[in-house]
Amino acid sequence: MSANHDDRHHSPDPHGRALRLGVGGPVGSGKTALVAALCRTLGPVLRLGVVTNDIYTTEDADFLRRAGVLDPERIVAVQTGCCPHTAIRDDIAANIDAVETLEERFGPLDLVIVESGGDNLTATFSRGLADQQIFVLDVSGGDKVPRKGGPGVTSADLLVINKTDLAKHVGADLTVMSRDAAAVRDGKPVLFTSIREVPEVYSVAEWVHGVVQSWAHTQAHHPHGPVVPTANA
């Protein structure tokens, strides 16, 4: 029996759905700020949905709703029972449910961003949940963090090192961070940002827009495939 319209339990179909982008990284590194920035910059050109995994309450979701960057209904909060990494890696069921609910209600969508509740450097998204993932570090943790590596730093599709405006205050050397990150990341991209100074985060938005376009291209033949406008982001 195949999935039909009144069947909300259908197994994730790898074709004809939005790109799922995971945004992970330690607490306070700027994940929510980045999600807000992406919504602001990409909102006019992409059909978006956001899932937050708040550790407490629905703080991140509320922040995003208040920021007015996206229709509040398109922001869904998922509770993770003290275990934010479980919700993005070992038991992704609640996040999948939230993503699919957004797609059903507002679909077709081009991009659904899932923000992790924030965890240590070992936390990464399951490939069953995120097609692409961004790991967000900030400079205030010191310039040794990229060298220490960890799955988030080494394997994320994009590493964002945020709060460059604070580098001088905390004595972090951005060239060291850049070199160390490149060494452990096997050529995968690293972007430096200061969301405080450049709230549009053009560089990250451009990268995201690129991966959404290639995602759409890989499933262009699917009858329900999303259509991504090609306007300049």
Partner: protein, 269 residues
């Protein structure tokens, strides 16, 4: 016991269970659980009430799934004929049978917060269950209750798809009715996990008793239905599910509603 029961009852089953505390988070906040002794009492009471009811619903759902899924095999569903119309009719009947059992779960769940938690967990479990143990019976169930069936019903149906017995299904429901809150209390209060597991070990006789009682209740109900109505076809549609246990836990209802209205919470329920 079927080995699949181990997979089904494992807290690592990716079905969203880890985010539910079964009232434990609110009980901790209210000061009703402060340590392992309170926790033991909480779990014992939960098992004797919600645990028994969900175990019976789970066993019943497992039974129903087997009845509905038995067409094609040894004689099959008596009302199944090889015509498309008959197949569609039996599909409609099957959906109606699932909705009836789901309505029984609703009638046993007075608290809207508890119904919401049960349906959310049921939807997540069924989604994962269908990918792990694909089965037409699970597809029918998903279509019968598209917003999410009550968790114990999903559990029983998935148990059947996994090849588990009714007793296994009841055991899985009884077991998860106490392990979820126990784990939540470990995380929330920093309790010694070994001591908490000793508490759980102390509840093993109760667990076995609940699973036995629940299975007997479900089997008795279905068999009475079959005996009274002659054919499985009629029985499936008119099983006297009302006979299943309906033990209330008024404190859990209160905790569930308070939890939903608390701003800072780590668990869904």
């Amino acid at each position: 016991m079927d080995a699949a029961l181990l997979l089904l009852a494992d807290s690592r089953l990716p079905a969203g269970g880890h985010a539910h505390s079964g009232g434990a988070e609110q009980a901790v906040r209210a000061g009703a659980i402060t340590g392992t002794e309170d926790l033991a009492r909480f779990l014992r009471g939960r098992l004797a009430t919600t645990g028994l009811v969900t175990a019976a619903l789970s066993a019943a759902a497992c039974h129903l799934a087997v009845l509905l899924g038995s067409h094609g095999e040894d004689g099959g569903r008596p009302w199944t004929e090889p015509s498309a119309a008959a197949a569609a009719e039996s599909e409609t009947d099957a959906r109606a049978a699932w909705r009836e059992l789901d309505a029984e779960a609703d009638a046993r769940t007075a608290s809207p917060a508890q119904r919401y938690a049960a349906r959310t967990q049921g939807r997540l479990l069924l989604r994962s269950g269908r990918r792990i143990w694909p089965s037409p019976v699970l597809d029918t169930l998903a279509q019968a209750v598209p917003d999410g069936v009550h968790h114990p019903i999903a559990l029983g149906a998935v148990a059947a798809a996994a090849g588990c017995s009714r007793h296994d299904a009841a055991m899985a429901a009884a077991y998860t009715s106490i392990t979820g809150p126990a784990t939540a209390a470990v995380r929330l209060l920093g309790l010694d996990p070994v001591v908490v597991h000793r508490v759980l070990a102390g509840l093993v006789p109760d667990l076995s008793g609940v699973a036995r009682t629940a299975t007997a209740a479900a089997s008795g109900t279905v068999e009475a239905g079959v005996a009274a109505r002659g054919t499985a076809a009629e029985a499936v549609l008119r099983i006297a599910w009302e006979e299943l246990p309906a033990h209330a836990a008024p404190a859990l209802d209160l905790l569930a509603e308070q939890h939903l209205r608390t701003e800072v919470r780590l668990f869904v329920s």
